[in-house]
Symmetry: C3
Subunit: 162 residues, 3 copies
């Protein structure tokens, strides 16, 4: 497998862990000194930080397990990425990807069965977040790990005050 | 071309054949002993089968030609995939991909021309299905063919009773 | 990096330049004799040209800078591509990709703060255009440049009369 593909598959595992709310799998993708920051767009090409940075895989795991909203019954999501630009330089790599997040809500089958005329997938798929992932990785013992991960959101985030 | 890319392009041809409702092109991507199964999600990580499995490329072709709803006038679709995880082991390969399906409906140009103020693409693009493809392939005479294809839908499917 | 990946990253840079309305970056991806044409679908597998072809990178740059609608305040877009089929033959390459374009509109934070109950990304992400890019590239002095780019839109385009 090429190094570029290895790097891209780290991102593929990252989005699966996010959608599965699997903090352990997510945390394992990061180094002990990783820095994760979320930014919200304030204008063309300008951003402001959202909340405090997360430091290291343990913090990432904690955040996934404690701060990500669980899926409701019938709910799931897809963090999809596209159009990766990847530069590998020895054991260091930089990745930039577009992302679009979809919220999926399955309809529950009525006890009396689907209504007449219902055909195909029953539920809704709706995009609701987008932006860019800008990510640095380091190869350690043959595995690529994320050392810095900036999530550049296209929109401002409303965060409950603590 | 790397083996991983070859495998990924089988998926790229699969989605094009699906969107074109091209049963012949679709069937040719599968081996004679291929098994295709559709599953609907019943909970976090759990699925139930939808209908009977399809066995072999001939059945796949038949299904595309006879069971897939044709596009209406102005209609098209895009089965898009993302974030592939691919493992190649000699002449065997495993692929896991996210998918989101979009329904496209083009507006028909009024005989009197577009209404004043209309600008850009005239029609709608709407996501309506999503899930994961989980696929096994085998290299035969230099070409990768699908031997097993599981479509893991995020939603239940309403199927007309026969 | 493999040639296929190099070709795919030209497309990744193309969509970023489009979304950033960066005519200079966009124009630099094309050769001096490049031909860019937009087509609108008229039926299953049939298309008609939209407007006149653009010839060369200078024209591409001019078009991006003068004909593409600027993003409004809070606005952005993502031209996402997927399921690339790439054939490289020496210094020539052919690429076919699906595309879906998303329009992003960020909500502006009210001066009195987000309304109670607001949570997460504030704004909308909406697909509104789709189709296929069919693209030929040539390797010149080690860099892949686009020589021919056909944008196959799924929908008709309303264009203001000049």
């Amino acid at each position: 497998m090429t190094s570029e593909r290895e790097v891209q598959e780290v991102l593929a595992r990252y989005v699966r862990a996010t959608d599965a709310r699997d903090g352990k799998a997510q945390g394992a993708l990061f180094t002990d000194d990783a820095v994760v920051r979320i930014h919200a767009k304030t204008g063309q090409g300008t951003y402001e930080p959202v909340g405090e940075p997360l430091i290291d895989g343990v913090a990432v795991r904690y955040a996934v397990e404690n701060f990500m909203e669980p899926h409701p019954e019938g709910g799931s999501s897809h963090h999809t990425t596209s159009d990766c630009i990847i530069e590998v330089d020895g054991d260091s790599a930089h990745l930039n990807a577009q992302f679009v997040v979809f919220r999926v809500r399955a309809r529950r089958r009525p006890e009396t069965g689907w209504t007449e005329g219902a055909l195909g997938a029953q539920g809704t798929v709706e995009p609701y977040e987008s932006g860019y992932y800008d990510t640095w990785l380091r190869r350690m013992n043959g595995d690529w790990k994320i050392v810095r991960h900036d999530v550049l959101m296209d929109m401002p985030m409303a965060i409950p005050e603590v």
